[in-house]
Symmetry: C2
Subunit: 477 residues, 2 copies
Amino acid sequence: MKHTKIVDLLTGKNLLHEVKAKGWVRTFRNNQFIALNDGSTINNIQCVVDLDKFPAELLKKIHTGAALSVTGTLVESQGAGQTVEIQVNKLKVYGEANPEEYPIQPKKHSLEFLRENAHLRVRTNIFGAIMRVRSTLSYAVHKYFQENGFFYFNAPIITGSDAEGAGEMFRVTNLDLNNLPRTEEGNINFKEDFFGKTTNLTVSGQLEAETYAMALGSVYTFGPTFRAENSNTSRHLAEFWMIEPEVAFNDLDDNMDLAEDFIKYVIKYTLEKCQDDLVFLDKRLQDEEKNKPQAERSGMSLLEKLNFVVENNFKRVSYTEAVDILRNCKPNKNKKFKYIIDGWGADLQSEHERYLVEKHFKCPVILFDYPAEIKAFYMRMNEDGKTVRAMDILFPGIGEIVGGSEREERYDVLVEKMKAMGIEEEELWWYLDTRKFGTAPHSGFGLGFERLVLFATGMTNIRDVIPFPRTPQSAEF
Amino acid sequence: MKHTKIVDLLTGKNLLHEVKAKGWVRTFRNNQFIALNDGSTINNIQCVVDLDKFPAELLKKIHTGAALSVTGTLVESQGAGQTVEIQVNKLKVYGEANPEEYPIQPKKHSLEFLRENAHLRVRTNIFGAIMRVRSTLSYAVHKYFQENGFFYFNAPIITGSDAEGAGEMFRVTNLDLNNLPRTEEGNINFKEDFFGKTTNLTVSGQLEAETYAMALGSVYTFGPTFRAENSNTSRHLAEFWMIEPEVAFNDLDDNMDLAEDFIKYVIKYTLEKCQDDLVFLDKRLQDEEKNKPQAERSGMSLLEKLNFVVENNFKRVSYTEAVDILRNCKPNKNKKFKYIIDGWGADLQSEHERYLVEKHFKCPVILFDYPAEIKAFYMRMNEDGKTVRAMDILFPGIGEIVGGSEREERYDVLVEKMKAMGIEEEELWWYLDTRKFGTAPHSGFGLGFERLVLFATGMTNIRDVIPFPRTPQSAEF
């Protein structure tokens, strides 16, 4: 007899029939009630064991974490909090979990402790919920783009170009570091490396995605990207997943429309599909917040925040307007900001972004038309000659979640900009070709997937929303 | 006025209305007929220009590859091969493409030439078709798993473990190779590297996926994997995308059922969604085959092959049966094989796999129960003590497309096997934990995504089915 997933058993469709469930014991109460979970849902199915029917030495093997196969009749449950349960007829223990050794006991573990046990933490309610939400969000990403005529584009991970400019890169090499080949001049001879030159891990697939947008029209990447930056914060990972749509003929307004519509869609989809997990995470966050001083508490619950994003327009504000607001705001005047805003042109810090989103506008904000000097070489110059068609989307509690722009499609302007920024034309000959042959306006953005998962789950440390986080000094498992 | 994608215009829904299209010129005939393509479909829309309406110097800018915006009335077409066309009223040239310089002219280019222009080759019919099929196959992968209760799992790309054993690995480092830090003993001090130890690019996410399957039940990876092997063949890439489902409580038969059902689903879905692209690729392959000697031609067209896979059962054959067939077959007896099969236990070579699939069974074949000695340490030992519960799926023209197994879930047997194969327990302490706590039978497989795209498109060189291929001595763009 085939077993049925617990998520399907709990619908109660097979009431009074014999069913089989397989999963792991969450708790075993009174030598009678097994709460069994198989990961298909956050909810357990209660399996009721008649003590007299089973040998004591079999029941002794049933501890939290043990793997079981359970066969019995699905009946209406008398207990509170569940609708159906299994009256067990047959019981098989696949694998035990010695309670003296098994780290995941039915009690509250700290997130730090669980991070050290990243290979087991997904067996807890909280990480099970996070990872199911993560999976659903991923699918929503593909669904949105595929249903809107985008093509999935796999940007290369290993890149010979180091001109992407989005951050420090990791080197990829096959050379024997203990015996590096040398040129006659005594330099390392990278011609003998696997790819015949120096290579790095990509920091962004955007430039390559642009070459595809200029042929397929609308494309998106969704893949891992890397930053070799020594940032030990709760918002940075050395390895993270990024989503980068790129659309031919889109200007910056179209780009903002796309980003807003996309984010609303994936959150709405997840609200519909992950109700039980989100209710659990909502309650967890409320419990966490109770321990915080009133002033630090978020005014909204997780579910309220998610619904708010789906139902309200993002506020669109130019960089220049934002600087005016910041210059005149209380924390700036009272010198409560670490970085005081006293003029136009400075890059905004996280404290400023949070002020705008959390205190001033109290909703997601799209900032646009940034000073050219603080933005990347490929962003389109405005008529004013000092701002570029860039946009950042700022989210409450998260900060920057999206960075995008209309791209500089004018060959001469782009070459000029690259010269000014010291980027070699020969490095990016292929990128320049897209402006030389059939160039057209186009726009795109990058969204750090883990920041989206942070927002959707109400978690606060980015290490808790990716299965095996990579950060400075840490690449376990 | 917003523009409409050409794929939507061609449905003819807006007949007699004013429409706008944006795209790139494929051809411009008689100073009158522009074939415009925007990548949304392989089909162009014909735009008819009235010479007298437009200045000659504007029309002079229209060459193959130029980017245009075209506004006009959508009317029924008089010409052959198209149902609707645009009678142009307004015409804007975004970007020209100097025919003296633009490499992608309307003539047959060799695949080698296009590989050197990988940033532009997607502007041809053939690569547009391949990449749309690739995107559709990707989506079908997610759709299949998500609709069948699997959770998407992102395996780490940078790994501190080198025990995966699937092949040579690339090193990832942040050290200054010109000034390597040394320990007192004079060794390279990897404690000063970014992660505080040596790290590599993953060759497989399987071991980590197993830890998630033992909590969430059914999971799958779909991400890049790497092999630093100097294989300059038409079937190997240094960077490729792999799909790795892993399912708790599945035995090897369930695993074979899953793999077969999955492959049939994604091919069926692609047949439905990519009809125009597949018809084009089918015709291309037929033209290619005409240049081959009769004996080397495939008996079936591309569409026939794809339908054959969807409609027929894969043949399941044990390794032992396969060796019997091979030992007694003509090419073995006549010593036509490079590697003669004379006994049980040898690893099968590509020539043997092709014989079984293409000559003997003439359909996809699943081989199972391989000799333990030629397979990985984590595969479950059979009762016979000499074979393991492994399976490979072999496809006509492609060879091995899937490799999988039921995993060794017995702690003691696994530790014994690791010892025998020289794999350190301390390296894989976390993997062993899954067998120590709540172990259960489970199975999974790996499918090289590019091999699937090769099969679905009828292409023969794996460099042609990934946007920017990485191979020995080549990491351009």
